[in-house]
């Protein structure tokens, strides 16, 4: 039992760490697995100190083999464990993509519900940290297209803490995208205040003129955009999706019916991205409410560029403001 705790001010990475610690304490079936997650505490130190306190059989340094990590986690889940595996960086999940897509996502359905696979795959994702290639990508749409998986991404420390709790408790596999450039951002975490369900979007700023939809690393950017727009007299609403699959279309619809304009922001390439899905469905749902086409701001259909160019590639304040202006101009 955690001692009576009040709110703490924690970095997002530390919030996940505390959440994992709590899960390890409360459920002996929870395991942490991955490369360097033990002594080192992970390359981002998200699992720092956990092996020291829970031992090598609960916090497991694995061989350097991503398919092996996910594949054995599936086997452990079949035996009744609840593995939380870490993929070191976004670009390295692909050796495990086969296991995730053909096995992890489908086994519950193939067994007609007899088998449950409560596996969490943690992936630090996204750019903005000046990394070398394969360390800055946003592959969430590649996973969201696959039924049987839940895809979530917190944008702040409190969500990181609670969404991890919920992901571990879920009987479905969850791909947990951690916005690595927000790892060091601090926020209030109250380990007592149980939040809404994992798939529920949250209005983080009320507004009347236009809705900005984002998740993970882009929520903070949207807050900056809204602040800048406010100086120009524009009142933007911001919706933090938190979950990409399932996606809370009802929340977007409610907001769009109020503001009548929608801009979706994500780091991943726009082409066939989550913004495309949102635009299509919201057009279908809100056709008569919309005053402007749904606009998207995101990455280009090009390999993630070298770090010196990433600010050009990533959606920034001006690109989003530009889209806001275009939407408002209709």
């Amino acid at each position: 039992m955690a001692e009576t705790v009040t709110s703490k001010n924690l970095a997002l990475a530390k919030a996940i760490n505390e959440s994992l610690r709590r899960a390890l304490e409360e459920d002996p079936k929870v395991l942490i697995m991955g490369e360097d997650v033990g002594k080192l505490g992970g390359v981002f130190r998200v699992t720092d100190g956990l092996q020291k306190d829970f031992g090598e059989s609960r916090v497991i340094d694995t061989p350097l083999a991503e398919s092996g990590i996910v594949g054995t986690a599936i086997g452990l889940a079949l035996r009744g464990y609840r593995p939380v595996v870490e993929i070191q960086f976004d670009g390295f999940v692909f050796p495990a993509y086969d296991q995730i897509v053909t096995q992890l996502a489908k086994m519950h359905a193939r067994s007609l519900g007899k088998v449950k696979l409560p596996v969490v795959v943690r992936i630090p994702y996204g750019g903005g940290i000046g990394a070398v290639e394969h360390h800055s990508e946003s592959p969430e749409a590649l996973f969201a297209h696959v039924s049987g998986l839940k895809i979530v991404s917190p944008s702040n420390a409190s969500d990181a803490y609670w969404m991890m709790q919920q992901a571990i408790q879920s009987d479905d596999p969850v791909i947990f995208f951690e916005p690595k450039r927000r790892y060091w951002d601090k926020g209030e975490v109250n380990p007592e205040a149980i939040p809404g369900p994992l798939h529920r979007a949250q209005v983080v700023r009320e507004g009347t003129d236009l809705t900005l939809v984002a998740y993970g690393p882009m929520v903070k950017l949207c807050q900056e955009v809204a602040a800048a727009a406010a100086e120009e007299g524009k009142n933007l609403e911001i919706l933090d999706l938190r979950s990409v699959s399932p996606l809370d279309f009802d929340a977007i619809q409610t907001s769009v019916e109020k503001t009548r304009r929608l801009v979706v922001v994500h780091e991943a390439p726009v082409f066939f991205g989550s913004g495309a899905e949102i635009a299509a469905r919201i057009t279908e749902r809100c056709f008569y409410h919309l005053e402007a086409p749904v606009l998207r701001v995101g990455g280009y259909h090009a390999p993630y560029p070298p770090a010196r160019l990433e600010e050009e590639y990533l959606p920034g304040l001006d690109r989003v403001l530009d889209a806001v202006d275009r939407a408002l101009a209709y």
Binding site: S57, T62, P63, A65, S67, G68, V70, G71, T72, A73, I74, G75, L76, A77, L78, R79, G80, Y81, P95, D98, Q99, T102, Q103, K106, M107, H108, A109, R110, S111, L112, G113, K114, V115, K116, S147, G148, K150, S170, D171, D172, H199, S245, P246, L247, D248, F249
Partner: protein, 407 residues
Amino acid sequence: MTVESTAARKPRRSAGSKAGTTGTERTTRTTARKAAEPELVQLLTPEGKRVKNAKNAEYAKYVAGITPEELRGLYRDMVLTRRFDAEATALQRQGELGLWASLLGQEAAQIGSGRALRDDDYVFPTYREHGVAWCRGVDPTNLLGMFRGVNNGGWDPNGNNFHLYTIVIGSQTLHATGYAMGVAKDGADSAVIAYFGDGASSQGDVAESFTFSAVYNAPVVFFCQNNQWAISEPTEKQTRVPLYQRAQGYGFPGVRVDGNDVLACLAVTRWALDRARDGEGPTLVEAYTYRMGAHTTSDDPTKYRADEEREAWEAKDPILRLRRHLEASNHTDEGFFAELEAESEALGRRVREAVRAMPDPDRFAIFEHVYADGHALVDEERAQFAAYQASFATEAESGFAAGSGDN
């Protein structure tokens, strides 16, 4: 090292000689096969004689006390499995199944290893382990659902500790390893067995499962049925060393057993399972056998393999071999074979009737069990689907689509 084996190591490419390449490849193949045979652990010759030698002594003790009744049981298992398999092949030909992957020729490997297992052991099969399923008590008719296209599994994996068939080559070896890691964590003394083919041995997942199981000393037995072919590709397209030798590089033992010798398969698998139970970690068993039929009913082996090859292997038939042994040992009488024949026919009939009676799944099954916790998108699309279906009912009621036959 002989000239031939040098050729096996490095096919020489004489300048501009295309024809020569084919010649070299043929040499390579025969060489690998010839080299393979003496390494087999064998307890019964193709003529049905018991073999005693230094190589098999360590394993022979695992079947030392085997009774005539047990031997007849193994024979019965193999005969019924073959009969079931033949029925499924026929059902595919009759259009009742979309596809069938026959185990013809592999009965000894599957029954021998399957009968070595304890109830609390756990099996991770590929898509061809019908004999192992039989040993686990999975009703054979349940194996046909996925081939008929009414489901993707058809049995509760935890009901018989027999996981669902896995179509993606090699994936299940990792699941087996993870499961075995869990068994070890639980402090249980059960073991896990993963089946895969010689083709699968090339997959990264199989290599990774060797790594993980070795590193964590997982109680898992890797049971490779080297049936010589991966669809049209011979084993030499997968490896330059005998497969069982791979284990050495990972730090655990590998052994090649005569896969057409049910007794040897039983003994070697028991030995490997014992090691797992005793905390000695993984073992690789390579059952050297032969796929006598096609890869699946969609395959045409005449395009890639010689008839003589099959004929040579027919002489080593696993069922015939045990029959010869039983007869020579006076362990049976005519009544036994006649009864078994009748039982086989009854099984064939039961399977045939069961398949024909298999209902198509409810159309809403599409949306069932996609998630354990539910998912808004699935709910939304199920509702759309229901509305669409209902639209036919409405039209039919109002007389527009009368006779459309859809309901």
